[in-house]
Symmetry: C2
Subunit: 396 residues, 2 copies
């Protein structure tokens, strides 16, 4: 109608294709490997029910009144202790609670990116972050994701050739969608490069706690000596995504700017949820809880890989993640994963086509993402078998 | 340090002075008329405690899992029914749940305002909204607030002289900070003018339900025939601000854009809070609850005005609100409310100086805002008496 009044930044913006797919596949008989949802049987609903009642009866005014933008003090303190243990955060750094990691990414972009400024990202990468950057009219500089993380030579070439790049966005650990973990060497190089070119790194780490195999690699933030890294953490995969709780660790001058734009964005994060999480973290050992989640995802991932080995055609390549939620599957170039998706959905199996996660979403992509965290083993086997048949039938 | 990398939009941005004052006056012996907090004794903490437990035990997966960006269906339905009753929303309109009214304002601005675009606002106005617009590098066009709402002639002159104005932001009912309600005639004229000049109105209505005197005036949105008004509602003043629940009613093409930027902002509003509010609204009569809040605020406001009549010097003028949370007090031009505030705080009484709410915050302002919703009558009398003495002492 009168959409010529919309700001340039949102004119071309589309909703997440994943969320559209969600709507398509909400029939109960669809086997969906499309989502990125944590396993709901791992939500500590019973424990939270008890705590919620206590909080509202004993501390209702705090939990229901307006609060401070930077986050509930006791929750910040607990997060700080966890971060300290992981070597994250120096004395120049501070912590703020966010309404989910997504808000941390969005507001960091808002604080740094003028229209047209550049941001380097892995290709493929998390669509929620890419769309957040697009919504500031930023220029995405995609970098090939190799088996040990983003291609550092490409990063260097981009930085040499472009003055207006301000940020690097990376999910170094159990990347979404690829499930890949960046090597220590590349993490160090990325940090050196950020220093050398005076730019910043957003380290998005929602899956870091979900390792079920192999050895931990230090976070980029833990090696950060001069405040180059804005670290984004999340309670979504270790406690509950519905509560929308995340945090940022960053140099305090950067964090102050983020807090100011948060103040005009949502005033503060739901304080009832913050008090609830605090009491849960004080009363229960979340590391014990995380152990159970890891064991479950490790089992499901291992089982899905077994099924893929058994039912997928030989030319199909896929990552073998050591943690997180996703397997990334790549076919020879002649395949288009959107076409495969369409046929697969007719056989009641869903996944997310790879182009969704690419800086250029229009270009056909022969890769796709599989999620293993929510389906039962029975459905995993049935779905992977069906998908294998679809792949083979396309081949003929 | 390296803040030259910050985006232009946040370089000059300051935090809300009110929130800074909050920190100053958190000593328990300060009588504060500075906040805008709802009376905590009105929070239905006991009822919510019971519902919270039920929700988590019986519907934990829904309340703790990821959810849809536009909001929880049953909550949208209840809000829709309330809006229908008030004549708000035509068939072209739709509703989305927001993380507080503030998010609705912020994201509407994001959807419309390119850098440098203009937005007309009342002067004084709500600082949270003004700062949200500033954070998109928008140009504020302040319009004098008269006793029956914004000066329509000024609005017209601005629209005639400037091409890049896209929005009018108004709190027509029990305005923050002035407590003023816009007349029906001005509401109609504003709407006509928006149509004529092809621009949009953000109608921010967090206080509309809090009338304790006089007759309701129709909302601008209820008279909106061609989708000119983006209506922002809030549960903060009728249920709880800590839960961060608000909503938008707008033409669906506009709402779709808001939902897309919300998706990259916080994915969705805390779903536990949404389910909690839904169950509360189904189980209890919120209109009965609102009646109690109105009665309390009416009593407190009347009492504060009585005290002001008794203790304030004659040359002090102030609004006599029929609802909401605020009285706006104006001294002769020679006074500077920041200076009065400094002296007043030394006598342990706090309020917010008027310049805080002005488009030009640097200019001295002889007005200030008083809030009556949280203090006891005893403290109201003591504080207003002290403030009256401060005013008289400055005069000498």
């Amino acid at each position: 109608m009168m959409d010529n009044l919309f700001a340039d930044r949102v004119k071309g913006l589309k909703g997440s294709a994943i969320r559209e797919i969600f709507k398509l596949i909400q029939q109960p008989d669809v086997i969906s490997f499309a989502g990125g949802l944590p396993a709901p049987e791992m939500f500590p609903a019973k424990e939270l029910a008890e705590i919620a009642q206590e909080v509202l009866l004993n501390n209702g005014t705090t939990a229901l009144q307006y609060s401070v933008t930077e986050g509930y003090g006791p929750l910040k303190e607990i997060v700080k202790q966890r971060m300290d243990k992981a070597g994250i955060g120096k004395k120049e750094d501070d912590i703020a609670i966010m309404s989910g990691g997504q808000q941390g990414i969005d507001l960091t972009a808002k604080v740094f990116l003028n229209e047209g400024d550049g941001i380097i990202c892995e290709n493929p990468s998390f669509i929620g972050a890419l769309n957040a950057f697009r919504a500031y009219n930023a220029k995405l500089f995609p970098v090939t994701l190799e088996n040990d993380g983003m291609c550092i030579e490409q990063v260097e070439n981009i930085l040499k050739a472009n003055n207006h790049v301000k940020l690097i966005y990376t999910i170094p650990t159990f990347q979404n969608p690829a499930g890949i973990t960046m090597s220590l060497e590349k993490r160090q190089k990325l940090l050196e490069m950020a220093s050398k070119h005076n730019i910043y790194i957003i380290e998005d780490n929602p899956y870091g706690d979900l390792r079920f195999k192999g050895q931990d690699v230090p976070t980029i933030k833990s090696m950060d000596q001069d405040g180059r890294v804005i670290y984004v953490g999340s309670f979504s995969k270790i406690l509950s995504p519905g509560l929308r709780l995340g945090w940022i660790v960053a140099r305090s001058d950067i964090l102050q700017k983020v807090i100011i734009v948060k103040q005009v964005n949502d005033v503060h994060t739901n304080i009832f949820a913050q008090v609830l999480a605090t009491q849960y973290l004080l009363k229960y050992c979340i590391d014990e809880h995380i152990k159970k989640i890891r064991a479950l995802y490790g089992k499901k991932c291992g089982f899905m890989l077994e099924c893929m080995d058994k039912y997928f055609p030989d030319y199909c390549e896929y990552t073998r993640p050591e943690g997180g939620l996703f397997i990334w599957c790549t076919l020879p170039d002649r395949y288009d994963s959107v076409e495969i998706m369409k046929q697969s959905v007719q056989h009641k199996v869903a996944f997310v086509p790879g182009n969704t996660f690419m800086a250029d979403m229009e270009k056909p992509c022969s890769s796709f993402r599989l999620n293993y965290s929510t389906m039962t083993e029975e459905k995993i086997e049935q779905g992977i078998k069906t998908l294998g048949e679809v792949l083979k039938s396309i081949d003929n």
